[in-house]
Amino acid sequence: MGWREKILKRSLWVYHLATGPCNNCDIEILDLLTPRHDVERFGIKLVGSVRHADVLLVTGIVNRKCVPRVLRIYEQMPAPKLVIAVGACPMGGCVFKGSYNQAGPLDKIIPVDLYIPGCPPKPEAIIAGIAKLLEKLK
């Protein structure tokens, strides 16, 4: 384990990227910040710019208009990069599978470290997923 990973696991800064979702995973991600779940107590924080982020949280089916933006945002992100796919959509498309506007799944476009399935996953599931990612870093 390099020094970068050692520092990284103390506090994850997360950037949220919506690529054609139905809003539900996005609300559950915001819900994580509010008093009942409050992920800031684990040092997890939502940041406004991808240049400050350690983790890219991707929701949605990755539609054709979003692909260049996803690639550009991924390039702007400082290394080490971690990518989490939240919800069923970035994995296989959920009910939107077969749509003419679907360019996904996400792992065809950028490498993905963690999948959190569900439509939408419960906030507890998202916390559990991120905890597993921290275990993996150790």
Binding site: H16, L17, A18, T19, G20, P21, C22, N23, N24, C25, D26, I27, E28, L30, D31, T34, P35, R36, V47, G48, S49, V50, G60, I61, N63, K65, C66, R69, I73, C94, V95, F96, G98, S99, Y100, N101, Q102, C119, P120, K122
Partner: protein, 395 residues
């Protein structure tokens, strides 16, 4: 003064959904706004043509995560209108109950986000804390926090467990108390009042010109509500009032939504009283869908949702059209935004409670000469655009 263009988005810390605004400003004053959407388009209308009548219900539920029972209600209304089926009375009450609980959760969500957009994160944290019990109620009654999937054409899929009703009444009673305290705290706060009062005024004439619907129209004193004007489900069986305000500014848009939450809590309680008396089936059988057309409407938290289905007698719709409330509410920012301060722009854009996931449909607009665009026309258009870009960038 020189004009400048400020781009907001498509990925911006203030937005939960990807959308792109171009604000033209003169100093601090906004003079024009342009909205680019399309980052959320998933091709739902086309997908619906390849799914069976039942499957489409779950597809339209995933148009939007916040109004995930509004679209199914409108779609089921459309299919039932096409089949001339009357749903059982108990199913009507269950639909109303789920629809109104969703309105409570959606308005609370917006209220929190409005606080966030004003830079008043205390309101956001407070309101979202009190939104959690509503999601708990959903989880107990329907099985999921979001995406309840309760409906099918002909009725509802699951009956409600009445053992939970006393607990639901207690939770809603607490929510009412908290909300009364919150509304007093918000409406007495001089900072919030000065940020909201008299800003982004939408006049009743603008409402008529732009065809705005839902709380956006009702805040301006236009009393339109599909639940009263064209009752469906159990809205004509229970007692309730349409909440309206007069000024049409941002403060009234907050007030009208708070009033609607109180009205919805009352309606949920009435539905629970009725469900304890009305027993029986929750599903009417639909054996086959005849050829023809059907329309369905529902008053979603953001306004009127409209669904149109056409059938040729087969197992799936041959045309499915969705019109979401944001589609007509969004252009009202052309009336409210120009002339306002740049600092107010975000809250004015957010005041219509926009939902871009609902809105993103592809529409072909005729150019007066031709009614439809054929494949050759589209290829020609694309060729012309490429040529234009090549000339512009010299490649």
């Amino acid at each position: 003064m020189a004009k400048a263009v400020i781009p907001i988005g498509p990925y911006h810390p203030l937005q939960e959904e990807p959308e792109h605004f171009l604000l033209t400003v003169e100093g601090e004053k906004v003079v024009d706004v342009e909205v680019h959407i399309g980052y959320n388009h998933r091709g739902i209308e086309k997908l619906a043509e390849h799914k069976s009548w039942q499957q489409v219900t779950f597809l339209v539920a995933r148009i939007c995560g916040i109004c995930s029972t509004s679209h199914p209600i409108a779609y089921c209304n459309a299919v039932e209108n096409l089949c001339r089926v009357e749903i059982p009375e108990r199913a009507k009450y269950i639909r109303t109950l789920v629809g109104e609980l969703e309105r409570i959760h959606s308005h609370l969500l917006w209220l929190g986000l409005a606080g966030h957009f004003l830079g008043y994160n205390t309101v956001w944290m407070w309101v979202w804390k009190w939104r959690e019990p509503v999601l708990d109620i959903f989880e107990a009654l329907t099985g999921n926090r979001n995406h309840y999937d309760m409906l099918l054409p002909g009725g509802v899929r699951r009956d409600l467990n009445e053992e939970y009703f006393p607990w639901v009444r207690k939770e809603l009673g607490e929510l009412k108390k908290n909300l009364e305290m919150l509304s007093k705290a918000i409406l007495d706060d001089p900072v919030i009042i000065s940020r909201l009062k008299g800003i982004g005024v939408l006049t009743p004439e603008d409402v008529k010109n732009y065809g705005a619907v839902g709380p956006t129209a009702r805040a301006s004193g236009v009393k339109i509500d599909v639940r009263k004007d064209d009752p469906y489900a159990a809205y004509d069986l229970i007692q309730w009032e349409v909440a309206t305000c007069e000024n049409g500014d941002l403060l009234d848009k907050v007030v009208v939504r708070i009033l609607e939450i109180f009205e919805s809590i009352k309606m949920v309680e009435e539905c629970m009283d009725a469900l304890e008396k009305v027993k029986g089936e929750v599903m009417a059988t639909i054996k086959e869908v005849p050829p023809g057309e059907g329309i369905g409407r529902h008053e979603a938290p953001r306004g009127e949702t409209f669904h149109y289905v056409r059938s040729d007698g087969g197992s799936s719709p041959i045309r499915h059209k969705v019109r979401a409330p944001t589609y007509v509410n969004l252009p009202t920012c052309k009336a409210t935004l120009p002339g306002s301060q740049l600092a107010d722009a975000i809250i004015i854009l957010a005041s219509i409670d926009p939902c871009y996931c609902c809105t993103e449909r592809v529409a072909v607009v005729s150019d007066k000469k031709k009614e439809y665009l054929t494949q050759e026309d589209l290829i020609k258009l694309s060729w012309e655009k490429t040529e234009k870009l090549r000339r512009k960038y010299g490649k």
